[in-house]
Structures are given as C-alpha cells and as structure tokens.
Amino acid sequence: MEPLVQFFYILLPFLRDWPEWLALTVIGIVAALLMFGFVAIFALFAIWLERKVSAHMQDRIGPMEVGGWHGWAQTIADTIKLLVKEDIVPENADRILFKLAPAIVFTAALAGFAVLPWTQDFIPADLNVGLLYILSVSSFAVIGILMGGWASNNKWSLYGAMRSASQMVSYEIPVALALLAVVMNAGTLSMRHLVMAQSGNILDWNVFNFFPLTAVAFIIYFVASLAEVNRTPFDLPEGESELVGGFHTEYSGMRFAFFFLGEYANMYVVSAIATTVFLGGWLPPFEFLSFIPGPIWFVGKAMTMVFIQMWLRWTLPRLRVDQLMYTCWKVLTPFSFAIILLIGLWKVI
C-alpha cells in the first residue's frame, strides 16, 4: 500500500469504512491542499527572506515597517495588494491561452511537490518513476511559459518566453545526466528508495559516493537547476534591464501572482530534489541526531539550498546568451557524460 494512504488510515481510521475511490480522492485532495499551504507559506517567507538577504548583502536593511519585527508581514501586505489589483488582458491578446498559461505554470510547480519525500511515511505519491516524473513536470512549465509569452501579444513577452524555453530545455540534459549518475548506484527511480539507500551517517550520502565523482555531479545538478528555474546568473529570460519582465510583462494582479508563486515553488522543488538525491533527504547527518524528526531535516537542508540560490543571485552578474549556451553544451554536458562513464568504469572494475 502507498505510504500516504497508510499514513492517513492510521491518522483517521474511519476512512477505512469509506468506498476506496472516495477515500483515495479525499486523501489526495487533502495532500494537495497541504502542499499548497506549504507553497504559500514558503513563498511568503522566501520572498521576505530574499529581500532581507539582498538588502544585507548590499549593506541596506530592507523592508522594516509592516508588521513590526523586521517587516515580517511585508509579503502578506504585497499579496493582499495583488489580490485587489485590476486584471488586465491586453487587446489583441489570445484571451484563452493568456488565461490558461499561469494555471499551467503553477499547476506544474505544485505537481512537482507530489513526489517529494518529507519523511519515510509521508510522501504524497511514491511513484516508481519519481525522478523521471520530476523531469516530465518541468517540461509542462516550459509549455506554460511559451503559452503565456506568446498569448500576450507583446514583443518583450515573446522574446523572454523563447529565451526561457530554449534555456530550460538545454539545461534539462545536464540535470538528467547528473541525476543518472546517482541512479546508477542506487538502482531505483523512486524518491523514497533513493533516500533509504543513503541511510547511515553523513558519509553514506550520495554526494560522498565515489568521491569526488558524485560531488561533481551534484555541482552540475545545482548549476543546471539554477538555469531551470531562471535564477541569476541564468536569469536572462527575465532580465528586467533588457526585457522588462520577460514572459510575464503583460500579466497583472492574481495571474502575475501565480507566475511568481510558481517560480518560488520551483526554487523549493529543485532544492528538495538536490536534498533527496544527493544530501540524504530526511536522514540526519549523524546517528545521535536522529531524535530530530525527518521533515525538519528535509526542510532544513532544502532551505539551505534555497539560501545558497539567493546568495548566488546577489553575488553573480548575469550571463550573456552565448555564454549561457556555452556553459550548457560545452561545459556541463561533456562533464556529466564523463562522470557517468567514469562511475560505470569504477563500478565494473
């Protein structure tokens, strides 16, 4: 039986008496709403954190007014502001596709949360092909971005969307190959089993496997995932100094908010994948720390990765388009191929 279903049956025993399909539906929707709640709270916190981090790195103090303590309620106020903003669809835009695009981008981001293993007993959908599922979900986001950029009938939007799409597809190759390096050793694609294969102490985590080969794969994954979520130094699609707002230039109000939410959700998803695949997921680094529950380790490690993403954003300048393609096709891809062949050689000899 699925870990999630078991989890809910133990938590709420009366679900056993319901017809199976109804119970499964209720459990699935509750899990999805839980994940949505997490996404919303995470985005509120991460946007505030990002402004604070950027401010302190630039020797400013950032938002200080709303809510009292260090302006903690600033993002909540911003969200309410977005809710009461006018919803504008530009003339000559393709209205259906324009309205569909934010839904696709956000839904793809939320669907990514379906396979994240928070702990051994709580994983919304323990698919046998979990890792590949993550790759497939990210391809929906590309389509949504192209759709929004095209439907806006705006040159900035279309150009940003094209850049974004070609960047995201290009960097999917290094991402997939870096993940492959771990799968070769673990022999499974299920997120739960990938973590369970790393049990032990910190040296059993995949980063330290075949040292330093998997560590390099981890770095390749991290760099490529930055490009997948359009973060600096790979933020050309949204480079505000050249493309205004990229693919979401024409979006306002709640539709814009969902693009933004999707972006932050994706930041967390790629960090959580890195945590699951390379950094031991919910497992503590040492045995004596196992009294701290798994989800805290999982979120803690993922948040550390999110912080590193922010740190890089406020440290590095933006790449040029030709440098972007160079990094992907002539640095990351050959290196990841080499790592796969080297790990294969290591294992057979």
């Binding site: 017809p19 399909w21 393709d94 596709l97 698919l127 046998n128 092909v129 590949l132 599922y133 790759l135 497939s136 990210s138 391809s139 929906f140 590309v142 389509i143 192209l146 759709m147 095209w150 279309l158 094209m162 799409a165 070609s166 597809v169 999917e172 694609l189």
Partner: protein
C-alpha cells in the same frame, strides 16, 4: 459503473477531443497547444496500461521535446496568427481512401490484439524490466537506435542549417 471506468472515459474523451481540436482548429498555434492535452491524455492512458515508465517518457519526450520543437517551428513561420491551414493535395478521393485504409488497419489490430490478459496483470514497476530487456533480448535494435538517432541528429541539423543560409 466503477469510478475507475468513469475516469478512463474522461481521459479518453480528453485525448480524442483535443486531437480533434488539433485537426480542426483554424489557427496553427491553437493546434500546437491543443497537442499538449493530447500528449498528456496519451500518457494517462499508458498509466492505465500499467506502463509507468512509458507514461513519463511520453511526457518528457513528446511534451518536453517534440511539442517545443513544433512550437518553435510554428513561431518561425510568417504571420502565425492569420495563417490558415492548407494542404497541397486536396483530393477528396485520395484522403478518403487513406482514411479508410488506416481505419481498417487499426480495426484489424484491435481485433487481433490479446487485450484482456494484458490488463489483468496488474500494476508492476516496469523500468527495471525494460532495462534488462534492452540489454539482453533487444540488444541489436537498441544499438541500431543509437545509429538512427545519430543519423537523425546530423540530417536534421544539416537541413536546418541549409534553411538558414
């Protein structure tokens, strides 16, 4: 009717209706985006056939690769929005004949295929089985695929570059 069957019919309807939209939509770009629903519907049908690996592969390759290629291709055409779809050959007899022939072929396959035993097998992970098979029983086709992909890569790039000049 079981809940399972209702879901199946809904997915089949999604697939067929979006495929009809691809064929009948007047705007090229709408056809391209309708393919998104068709490909997704296909992937869901693969899940019903308990082919989990094939389902995600369908999404990664078709939605993530081919659909993007189609969209880029559409965006490279002139006057995307107002272009009406025209085919060079508009002969009714030829298209009717082709349609009847392919429908007959599909009906033949449907009547010959051993459907029930496949569905009765239940839901098992398929990735490892596929991996074992391509490395043992289907080794030669598998290696030929790599040559095919090589040919496709070089050929497609060559043609695309020729258009550039």
């Amino acid at each position: 009717m079981e809940a399972n069957q209702i879901l199946f019919i809904a997915i089949a309807l999604l697939t067929v209706l979006s495929a009809a939209m691809v064929a009948f939509s007047n705007k090229l770009i709408h056809s391209a985006f309708a393919l998104l629903a068709t490909f997704t519907g296909f992937a869901m049908l693969y899940v019903y056939l308990s082919a989990d690996f094939l389902a995600v592969t369908q999404i990664v390759v078709y939605v993530g690769g081919i659909l993007i290629l189609i969209l880029f291709g559409v965006l490279m055409t002139h006057k995307i929005y107002s272009t009406t779809k025209k085919t060079a050959h508009n002969s009714l007899i030829v298209s009717l004949l082709g349609g009847i022939l392919s429908a007959g072929l599909i009906l033949f396959i449907i009547s010959k295929a051993p459907w029930a035993p496949l569905l009765a097998k239940g839901f098992n992970p398929t990735t490892a089985i596929i991996g074992k098979e391509i490395l043992t029983g289907y080794l030669l086709p598998f290696e030929i695929i790599s040559v095919l992909l090589l040919g496709a890569l070089i050929g497609a790039i060559y043609i695309a570059r020729a258009e550039d000049k």
